[in-house]
Each structure stands twice: as structure tokens, then as C-alpha cells.
């Protein structure tokens, strides 16, 4: 059996831990640069749409006395780690899937699972103040589905144990909401009258493989209760992206170029950390679509890297080329990003007859290791490519940032006694 535990309105719940005055109040958390709403406490859900641009909901915020916070990632990461560690006390195999979700391998736990789940939930709540939901099923896909259905359970725990439980869960579950289906397959299936998880897993294996490849077939098997995915195996995670909305829109080429260099650099760090190398790199740009009165433009460009690499200068070079292709003068760019796909493990890079140069590869690797080590020791981006510019031109807008209660001595909770 597998479990999927997730934290309820995680960012908003984190903000409430050290603010008992907000216990019953609606709370929302804004994205980077305070652009749009990325988390809502249960009390806020009645008023505020997920993803709504902040300037559009300002009136509602005032009217319903909604507490607003900028994203405090230091706090969220710290509390997330505590939550995950507490799950590890109960379950030997835990796969951290995102900042607020983890899969639990519950095979071989002889105890009644609903009680075990509730004990975990209570311990997490006692130690961190973060409410969690736990879904349990015979496969990862069913555990994820159980977790989504656990929203409607008072206890926040749902176990799909018997065949009847599983069938009842699949019956009306929208196929587009099944883990791994995504909007594209969702539309494809919808157009063919397949709208529920139940209908989906009644399709023949041949049909599934033909139209949705082996990934779709695996999903159907998982939905039928046959486990294909172990821990650490995900449906598909073949790309990485670094993107930001800008506090102030950027129009000129030079500052945009610095941003792109920064994103490509950050991407290089991420790639080296997970020891994988991309074969394709893309850059995208867009103006603010929430300001229809301004001229609108969006575009992206994908380039094939001559060699799969996570060497920062190569990534930056490719990103600049892509940017040059899509940049147009006269637009106010609000968001940009760099993403990579076609990831291969760094020890499986295809050689290139003319470009491969083992000695040079070694130097590059040593250089990047030194760079990463220096930045880890002295703080992010103490050592960097000159292309990133030397002035921190744009700081993220974080008007409603809460203290980093658990990670900075200067910001710990002050209590008037």
C-alpha cells in the first residue's frame, strides 16, 4: 500500500503557526514579487480565486479582512523539512514529492491503516501546527486520488482498501484530475467521451498504448490497482524550469539579458545538483496579460544543445541565442524564464565526434564544482558570470514578508510577557 500525505493550504498554514491572532482568519500568500495569489487558507477560499492577480483582489482583501503575506520560502522550507522528518519517524520509505507532499510506502505495515494515518497526522499537527491530509491506496496513482478525495472527509484521511472502495472512488473522478494525465491528454480523452477515471481504465491496453503511449497504459494499470510505480519513480519529470515575474516590467534588452543569464545559471546549479544534463533549452517571454490595455506579446524559442551539458557558460550562451531570436522592442515584459528538457543522467551523455574533448570536460567540471562550492559557502551568487551584471537591479517585491522564525536568530518570535 502507498500513502500520499499533503499539507492543507501549506503556505497559508505556515503563516498561521506563529500568528494565533490569525487562527480563524482568512489568509492568502502571494507569489514571487507579490504578483498573484498562490495559497489560500480554507477561510479565504470562499472569497479569493487561486492564481488571481493581487491588484484585482485588493478590494476583497480589505472587505473581508484577509491577511496577506509575501512568500516566505525560508519559513516554508524549514517547516516542510520538519513535517517530512516526522513522517520518516513512522514510515521507513518516504519520497518527498514537493514542498508540501510526500509519498509513503506503507507495504508491510500490519496496523489498521486509518488509525496509523491519524496518528501521523496528529503528531505532525502537534509538533508543527501544520494540518495534513493522507490518502492511501494500493498504488501511487490511487493514493494520490485518495488524497484528493480526503478533502471531503472530516478526518482528512481516506483509505482505498477494498476493490469496492477503489471502484467507488474511480466512478465519478474526473480523468483530467488524475495524477499524470494533464490538460492535453484530458482534452484528448474528453473529446472521445472518456471523462472519468472509471471509463479510462476500462479502455483496452492496446488502445491506451496506441494513443497515450506506455505512460498512459501504466496510469491505467495503476488505476486498476496494479502497482507499476515504486517510490522515487514519477509519472514524468523530464524538465526543469526557472522563471520569474518581474516586480517592474522590463522593456530594454540589456536588463532582460541579465535576468535570462541569472535563470540559466540557477538552472545549471539545479541540474548539477541532480546530476542530469539537458539536450534542449528554451527561453520564453511574455507581457502582462492582465493589462489588456498594453501591447501584448508572448513567444518562446527552443534550441538543441550541441552536447548535453550542465556547464553554466554553455547554458547561458544558448539562452542568449534563444532570447535574441524572440526579443522584440517596444513591449513591457512581465515574465520570462528558461527551461530545459530531454534530461539525461550526466554519466550517459552521448559523445560528439567533433565537439567532445575529455580534457576540456574535466576542466569545466572542476570549474563548476569550485563555483558551486564557493556559492554554497559564501552565499548564492558571490561568484558568477559577468553576464549576470554586477548590480542587483531588481529585488523581488515582498511587501508583506513575515519573519523567518525558525532559521534566523534576528527574526525569532518575540513574546511580550
Amino acid at each position: 500500500m502507498f500513502g500520499l500525505a499533503d499539507c492543507v493550504s501549506f503556505y497559508a498554514s505556515c503563516e498561521k503557526v506563529f500568528r494565533p491572532d490569525l487562527a480563524q482568519r482568512p489568509v492568502i500568500v502571494l507569489s514571487n514579487n507579490d504578483g498573484c495569489v498562490v495559497a489560500r487558507s480554507p477561510e479565504a477560499k470562499a472569497w479569493i480565486e487561486m492564481g488571481a492577480p493581487f491588484f484585482q483582489v485588493k478590494e476583497l482583501v480589505k472587505k473581508h479582512r484577509i491577511a496577506v503575506f509575501s512568500s516566505n520560502y525560508a519559513l516554508y522550507a524549514s517547516l516542510s523539512q520538519r513535517v517530512m522528518n516526522i513522517f520518516r519517524r513512522f514510515v521507513a520509505e518516504v519520497e518527498v514529492y514537493s514542498i508540501d507532499e510526500c509519498f509513503l510506502n506503507l507495504s508491510g505495515y500490519p496496523l489498521p491503516l486509518p488509525q496509523y494515518a491519524r496518528t501521523m497526522q496528529q503528531t505532525v499537527a502537534q509538533c508543527t501546527g501544520i494540518p495534513t491530509r493522507i490518502g492511501i491506496g494500493p498504488t501511487k496513482v490511487l493514493a494520490k486520488m485518495a488524497n484528493q478525495l480526503a478533502r471531503h472527509e472530516e478526518s482528512g484521511v481516506l483509505v482505498l482498501q477494498t476493490e469496492a472502495d477503489i471502484q467507488a472512488a474511480r466512478q465519478d473522478f474526473p480523468i483530467a484530475k488524475v495524477w499524470g494525465i494533464g490538460p492535453q491528454y484530458g482534452r484528448f480523452l474528453g473529446a472521445r467521451g472518456i471523462t472519468t477515471a472509471q471509463q479510462f481504465c476500462q479502455q483496452s491496453d492496446v488502445w491506451l498504448r496506441k494513443h497515450l503511449s506506455v505512460v498512459g497504459l501504466r496510469l491505467a494499470l495503476e488505476l486498476r490497482g496494479q502497482s507499476c510505480l515504486g517510490l522515487e519513480e514519477v509519472v514524468s519529470k523530464k524538465s526543469l524550469c526557472v522563471s520569474r515575474s518581474f516586480a517592474q516590467a522590463l522593456t530594454a534588452y540589456a536588463p532582460l539579458k541579465e535576468k535570462i543569464a541569472l535563470f540559466a545559471t540557477r538552472l545549471g546549479e539545479k541540474l548539477r545538483l541532480q546530476q542530469s544534463t539537458p539536450t534542449l533549452l528554451s527561453v520564453f517571454l511574455r507581457t502582462d496579460s492582465f493589462r489588456p490595455e498594453q501591447a501584448q506579446y508572448r513567444n518562446s524559442q527552443t534550441l538543441r544543445l550541441p552536447l548535453a551539458t550542465h556547464y553554466t557558460p554553455e547554458l547561458v550562451k544558448a539562452a542568449f541565442r534563444a532570447l535574441q531570436i524572440i526579443y522584440r522592442e517596444g513591449y513591457a515584459y512581465r515574465k520570462a524564464g528558461v527551461w530545459v528538457t530531454g534530461l539525461v543522467p550526466e554519466d550517459q551523455i552521448q559523445g560528439h565526434l567533433f565537439l567532445s574533448n575529455p580534457a576540456q570536460d574535466k576542466t569545466q567540471k572542476a570549474l563548476m564544482q569550485t563555483l558551486d562550492a564557493l556559492n554554497a559557502r559564501w552565499g548564492a551568487r558571490k561568484v558568477q558570470l559577468a553576464a549576470l551584471g554586477t548590480q542587483p537591479t531588481l529585488r523581488a517585491r515582498t511587501e508583506w514578508l513575515s519573519p523567518r522564525y525558525t532559521t534566523h536568530w534576528g527574526e525569532i518570535l518575540k513574546v511580550r510577557i
Binding site: P20, D21, L22, A23, G129, L413, V415, R416
Partner: protein, 119 residues
């Protein structure tokens, strides 16, 4: 490789003392706060002290707790008297708080250590 005499201490290397071992029992449930005020001076908690709070512990009679009353944190001694719960200050100039059902009371955790900075 330089070689010389191996240090006779090589097999006895140990990590230095770590304050976490002394102050933290439950890493995931430990939080730190700084206090302002003199209501707990007789419990040796002075203005500006740093407190270590263990959120995993349930308070027992006589424990010092970090508690939120009607939305505001304070630190008090947790006392059970007959069927009443009282949050006591440790300074005669402050009044005890007798808890009633009309108050919103949330115990955050139990104070396990006081760090007093003298220089």
C-alpha cells in the same frame, strides 16, 4: 603523500560538544522565542532571555508554557487547581489568569530551557 608519525589520538577523534544535544530533545518540535517583560522573573525568566520551547510536549501541572490567549502569545506557569486551569505569572505585580470557556486558549508548547545572556 607526506608521512610522519601517526597521531596517537587518531583513533579517539570525537565531535565537539553540540548545544543541540543539551537543549533539543525533539528537533522537529523545537522552537525558539525571545521574551520581553518581567512577569516571570521569579521563574528565572528575565527580559531579553531566549526560551527553548518543545511543542511535542503536553503541559503538566507546574510546567511553564508558551500559550496564546485570544490571539496573543505569552509565557506563564500552567497550573491545575481543582477543575480550573490557571496561568500564573511569577511576579507578584501581575495577576493570575483564570481560564474560562469564553477565552480562546492555545498552548503552543512547553518551555524546556531558558538561555540568559549575561554579557
Amino acid at each position: 603523500m607526506p608521512c610522519g608519525f601517526p597521531s596517537p589520538a587518531d583513533d579517539f577523534e570525537e565531535a565537539d560538544l553540540n548545544f543541540n544535544d543539551l537543549l533539543v530533545k525533539d528537533r522537529e518540535a523545537t522552537y525558539v522565542v525571545r521574551v520581553e517583560g518581567d512577569s516571570m522573573v521569579n521563574a528565572h525568566i528575565l527580559d531579553g532571555d531566549t526560551l527553548v520551547v518543545d511543542k511535542s510536549l503536553l503541559p503538566a501541572h507546574g510546567d511553564i508554557v508558551l500559550v496564546a490567549i485570544d490571539g496573543y502569545f505569552t509565557v506563564k506557569r500552567y497550573c491545575k487547581q481543582k477543575d480550573q486551569l490557571i496561568l500564573k505569572a511569577e511576579n507578584p505585580r501581575y495577576r493570575d489568569i483564570v481560564l474560562t470557556e469564553f477565552m480562546d486558549v492555545r498552548i503552543f508548547g512547553v518551555v524546556t530551557n531558558v538561555i540568559h545572556h549575561i554579557r
